[in-house]
């Protein structure tokens, strides 16, 4: 046992690096001057080291800590995604004007972000329902506090409160579902659950209820209809940096956990993986997931049409995107999983980019209203063009990367015969064009007011913008690397 634990620790270096950075950030907060962004740079350094350690895990495929955690290409892929998102969010945070007023608390801010990263790293790899729940809860608790970080704003307090209430209820339901699942299968690792289900369970009804309850928790984190009610208010009230992080990173981690859980626990390994069928005949997971995906696409896109606040608009758009991504899970084939990974990769850059421009505008103009974007095309040409590219990518039009993302996920769904679902997705994509283009129209088709001059954002913000803009454009034309990366990473341990 001792050898096993020591051996396992040698595969846990990225998580250990994050935990150490977390401690250093917390202590550095007491020692260093607050105004100098020193803690931000420390956190960035820690994340870079973590990145090196994650990349060093490439190609490993094993299970550590007595089947608690899997280190496999699937986990490594998602860890890299999470790290890119985290680095971008830390860079955003150093520029955010909202956070300057709270500089006294900035150490705790970064500490909680690191806590979230640790939680999400574990969510991505967890193969034991206990660890899955703990990781889920670690991520949630940190994000509840972060959503209410700008405490003097009433909206932020409201966001935090709503998030806690919804989160506590849904994770309670999920925990009950997990306990039922453990009760009927007698196993806590998802491999054991799979074996028990393959051998057949006596109470299929309890299994159905347990599965649905677990889906409530996961659906909450992904913000999928009908568990999305928290998302618009929380996204609007939280500081923009945190909104971007919730919309991208915690969603990606929850998708990774859902895919691993469903694929390992509920699929019959005996059958050919490419055409794998759910284990329990009495219960058709695919249909339930498909209905949820369709609802998310319809509700997200239609409600977004009426939004006046850019953060709320992006919140509903992210609900819709969760619907598109869920289509890949409905299929439950390797093709579907690799389509999810391609989508997530591209979604990361385009959504982060849109939030970044929204943050820059809010820094300068102090507004998040779409009406106030009028004439921005003249006042901030580069930022407006970048925003246009991000929004076109979010719509899914060529030549941006968003088109590639949608292409593969629609393709996977068509190949699996989900034509109706793809039809809904197609129609909703057209609907989404209206509200994304409304922002573009406001920026370019209106003259700025007389006294409004050119806005200067500084060189560093232009560089950060390029970091997101270039991939969004390049991967739309030259997408082979993303494709290769995703296809090489679909290997999940135990399948």
């Amino acid at each position: 046992m001792v050898e096993h634990i020591i051996n396992s620790i040698s595969h846990l270096y990225p998580e250990i690096a994050i935990t150490l950075t977390l401690c250093v950030a917390l202590i550095a907060d007491l020692v260093l001057k607050k105004e100098s962004h020193a803690i931000g740079w420390i956190v960035l350094g820690g994340l870079v080291i973590t990145g090196v350690l994650v990349v060093a895990q490439t190609g490993r495929e094993l299970s550590i800590f007595s089947d608690m955690l899997a280190v496999d290409p699937f986990a490594v892929f998602f860890k890299i995604m999470l790290l890119i998102a985290s680095v971008l969010v830390v860079l955003f945070s150093m520029q955010s004007r909202e956070l300057i007023d709270y500089v006294d608390r900035i150490g705790e801010y970064y500490m909680l972000i690191l806590g979230m990263i640790l939680g999400m790293f574990l969510m991505v790899g967890a193969t034991n329902v206990l660890l899955m729940y703990l990781a889920f809860e670690l991520t949630s608790i940190c994000s509840y506090v972060l959503a209410g970080f700008t405490r003097r704003s009433l909206k932020s307090a409201e966001a935090s409160m709503k998030y806690i209430v919804y989160g506590a209820v849904s994770s309670g339901i999920m925990l009950y579902g997990i306990s039922l699942l453990v009760g009927i299968t007698g196993a806590v690792s998802i491999y054991g659950i799979n074996e028990a289900l393959a051998a057949g369970v006596e109470q299929p009804l309890v299994l159905l209820v347990a599965g649905l309850m677990i889906l409530v928790g996961l659906g909450f984190k992904i913000a999928i209809v009908p568990f999305h009610f928290w998302a618009p208010d929380v996204y609007e009230g939280a500081p923009i940096t945190i909104t971007a992080y919730l919309a991208v990173a915690s969603k990606i981690a929850a998708f990774a956990m859902t895919v691993r859980f469903f694929k390992v626990a509920f699929l019959d390994n005996g059958v050919d993986i490419a055409g794998a069928l759910p284990l329990v005949d009495a219960f058709n997971w695919s249909v339930i997931l498909a209905v949820m995906a369709a609802l998310a696409m319809i509700v997200g896109n239609l409600v977004a049409l009426w939004q006046q606040n850019i953060k709320r608009l992006l919140a509903y758009s992210s609900i819709a995107h969760a619907g598109y991504i869920l289509m890949g899970l409905v299929v439950l084939t390797d093709e579907g999983v690799s389509a999810i990974m391609i989508y997530v990769f591209i979604y990361l850059f385009m959504n982060m980019g849109a939030f970044y421009v929204a943050m820059l505008v809010s820094n300068k103009l102090g507004t998040e209203q779409i009406d106030d974007y009028k004439g921005l095309g003249r006042r901030a040409p580069l930022e407006s063009v970048a925003m246009t590219v991000f929004l076109v990518a979010l719509t899914g039009l060529p030549p941006t990367a968003g088109f590639i993302a949608k292409l593969f996920i629609f393709g996977a769904a068509i190949n699996a015969g989900w034509l109706l679902l793809v039809l809904i997705a197609g129609i909703m994509t057209i609907v989404s064009l209206f509200y994304y283009m409304r922002v573009v129209r406001n920026m370019f088709l209106f003259e700025p007011q007389e006294e409004a001059g050119l806005l200067n954002f500084g060189l560093s913000s232009k560089i950060i913008l390029m970091v997101m803009l270039v991939p969004t454009l390049i991967f739309g034309v030259y997408f082979t690397p993303v494709l290769e990366f995703a296809r090489n990473s679909i290997q999940i341990f135990g399948l």
Binding site: I5, L26, M111, L131, L138, V145
Partner: protein, 167 residues
């Protein structure tokens, strides 16, 4: 016997939980929560999970609930009400009737004596302190450590949220 006790504890747990939610007075709610936790501890005992039962009583019914009551009583003190003033003939009758009905129901339920499967022999071994300690520091060492981080994050968050004044 086990069936009687199980049904008693289960009814008590559900009734106390309902009473806790429905009661107007916060102090009474808190006391019902204690009752609920104690009855759940009883169910743990029936399942031969001694350690869990003891921890349930010590930590939940003991420490956490005392804190709850303290806070409630500090913030929300109501006028003293003597219990004796409330008691009248109708209360006594209804209590007696309630006990009779409950025991009759238990008697009927107990006639389905084999309703509960017996606790397996090896399951009884799992519930001991040694077995739990062994598992916690070998198989479950990673979740244990993660719990530590989780609590740290929760403490930092709680302090940030609770601070009344800051610059």
């Amino acid at each position: 016997m086990v069936t009687y006790l199980f049904i008693l504890f289960a009814t008590l747990a559900i009734a106390a939980a309902l009473a806790m939610v429905l009661n107007r007075s916060t102090v009474n709610s808190a006391l019902f929560l204690v009752l609920n936790m104690l009855s759940i501890a009883g169910i743990y005992l029936l399942l031969k999970a001694q350690f869990l039962a003891v921890v349930q009583v010590l930590v939940y019914a003991g420490a956490i609930m005392v804190l709850f009551l303290f806070v409630i009583m500090l913030l929300n003190v109501e006028d003293e009400e003597a219990v004796l003033d409330k008691i009248n003939f109708r209360y006594i009758i209804s209590v007696i009737l309630g006990v009779v009905v409950l025991s009759y129901l238990l008697y009927i339920a107990g006639s389905m004596a084999d309703a509960l499967p017996p606790v397996a022999e090896d399951m009884a071994q799992v519930g001991t302190v040694e077995a739990i300690g062994d598992e916690l520091f070998s198989t479950y060492i990673l979740p244990l450590e993660i719990t530590a981080i989780l609590l740290t994050a929760a403490v930092v968050g709680a302090i940030m949220m609770a601070q009344h004044k800051f610059k």
